[in-house]
Amino acid sequence: MKISTNITGPLGSNNPVIVQILGICSALAVTVKLEPAVVMGLSVIFVTAFANLVMSLLRNGVPSRIRIIVQLVVIATLVILVDQVLRAYVYDVSKQLSVYVGLIITNCIVMGRVEAYALGHKPWESFLDGVGNGLGYAMILVIVAFFRELFGSGTLFGVDVLTRFGYTNNSLMLFPPMALIIVGCIIWVHRSLNKDLQEK
């Protein structure tokens, strides 16, 4: 298997959000605007990549009985690091993201990749796998946030796009249910393009 599939796989046929249906909770919560969604995506890329790297380096030294605790310590450390950096440099976005940065610890994608991949693969491959899965998550977040901000507020990254044409904001887009429907639509389009993913 080529290493490049570690990056491309999660972007397409093995996407963590729309194929494995992981990390939905935060995808609903942080996608009202594009800016927090992008920041959240970058944070998760960082955490998955380095959690995979560190756990892969430690994989031969950690007894499997206590591996979950070790994983949690590593992931939690990374998340706290991210949280502090966000507070220091992008305070406004950090406030908008509120608890959801801290909740990256419980994001199934991070733990899932460490368990399923990093514990059995070499550091560089694991790092790429983490980057790939983080990117796959971030991609969906940005797509959802794009539609929600565009149709819910008429803006993109806070810049007025639709309102100047007399667009009336659709406030349902600002509610989480609409994010779920958009994720559903992405899955719909994705599955009709990838026939092998369709369940019988």
């Binding site: 009336t168 659709n170 406030s171 349902l172 887009m173 509610f175 429907i181 559903g184 719909w188």
Partner: protein
């Protein structure tokens, strides 16, 4: 018959292998709309009956007509007209809503049926008329179009089309419009049609003033207080089809006489609403008579035409009583306890739509447990 010949002549073009075979479902829909289909059931148990889904839907549409006609008259009456002038004014205001709802909904329905190779279903005949009837008269047409599209795609087609939907599509359309475009769907401005050359009339609906002041409020034209009789007849501001409890009851009679709607659901919705109306009265939360709940707002309309929807309501007889009672009760609870939503009927029916399968499940489970016990006793 000329028409029959014409249809037969066109048939090969649309059948498999024909030039326009990709429009087969569309042709099929129009053929069965014009003539009774000449196919017969070959497998399984079946009942000999002249009734099919098209006839069922047509009866419901007929039952909606009294409320619709009265609603048109009322649109004119609310801005100070009387007689035929009022009806004609309302007719011209309401007709575009109906046209938009049918055109958008049927276009999507035909599109989906065609791309999936299904027959076109008649389900939208009723939904398409219900949607304009539960909208305020002054709602912009593009909201109606958008709400209809949303309801048909996400309420019906993603679940597999007519008969597979979890939620009532018409109510979903209203819920979409209500949450997405709240200022255009509620408040004081939207319940009266704009009259050319005069200042727009504005005022709260009877329902809103009931929840804020405990009275039915005053007529916007004339300023006299609204009586319970006015509310029963429907001479109050509100969505197009919901105001006249009398006209809705005529519709209910048609539905019950033909056996299309379930009297169990209908009755228990009213009982549930009344029971909780009295309860709130006893607790001292509300001071107005509980029966007012049944005649203002969309309570009667929802109870007769929406809660009884055979697809989204409960399927078992006991389940119908339970779901119906809870629908009525919940509607009154939302009306009384949540000042943000003076109209609880929409939310309560949608909520019970989601709960109905669960209620059915427990009713069936209990029945099975009871019969199992009986087997044990016999042994």
């Amino acid at each position: 018959m000329g028409l029959r010949n014409l249809v037969d002549k066109m048939k090969p073009t649309f059948s498999k292998g024909g030039k326009l075979s990709f429009l087969g479902s569309t042709f099929d829909a129009f053929e069965t709309f014009l003539f009774v289909p000449n196919t017969t059931t070959t497998k399984g148990a079946h009942i000999r009956d002249c009734n099919d889904m098209k006839r069922t839907m047509i009866v419901v549409v007929m039952a909606l007509i009294p409320a619709l006609l009265f609603g048109m008259y009322n649109v004119g009456y609310q801005v100070g007209m009387t007689g035929f002038e009022a009806f004609w004014f309302g007719f011209l205001k309401v007709l575009p809503l109906i046209v938009v709802s049918y055109v958008v909904g049927l276009a999507i329905e035909f599109g989906f049926a065609q791309s999936r190779g299904h027959e076109v279903n008649e389900g939208f005949l009723v939904s398409g008329l219900l949607i304009p009837m539960i909208m305020p008269v002054d709602v912009p047409l593009w909201i109606v179009a958008l709400a209809t599209a949303f309801a048909v795609v996400f309420g019906k087609e993603v679940f597999g089309g007519t008969g597979m939907n979890v939620f009532n599509p018409a109510l979903l359309a209203r819920a979409f419009a209500f949450f997405a475009y709240t200022p255009q769907m509620s408040g004081e401005k939207v319940w009266y049609a704009a009259v050319d050359g005069a200042d727009a009339v504005s005022g709260a609906t009877a329902l809103e003033s009931l929840s804020t002041s405990g009275t039915l409020g005053v007529h916007a034209v004339g300023g006299e207080p609204i009586s319970a009789c006015d509310a029963f007849l429907g001479l109050i501001p509100g969505s197009v089809g919901e105001t006249s409890t009398l006209a809705i009851l005529i519709g209910a009679a048609i539905l019950l006489f033909t056996g299309i709607a379930s009297w169990r659901t209908m009755l228990s919705v009213f009982v549930g609403g009344l029971a909780f109306g009295y309860l709130f009265n006893l607790l001292g939360v509300t001071a107005y008579p509980p029966y007012l709940h049944l005649i203002v707002g969309g309570f009667a309309f929802g109870a007769v035409f929406m809660a009884t929807d055979p697809v989204t309501s409960a399927q078992t007889d006991k389940g119908k009583y339970i779901v119906g009672f809870m629908t009525g009760a919940l509607a009154v609870i939302i009306r009384v306890c949540n000042p943000a939503y003076p109209e609880g009927m929409m939310l309560s029916i949608l909520f019970m739509n989601a709960l109905a399968p669960l209620v059915d499940y427990f009713v069936v489970e209990r029945n099975m447990a009871r019969r199992n016990r009986r087997i044990k006793t016999v042994k």
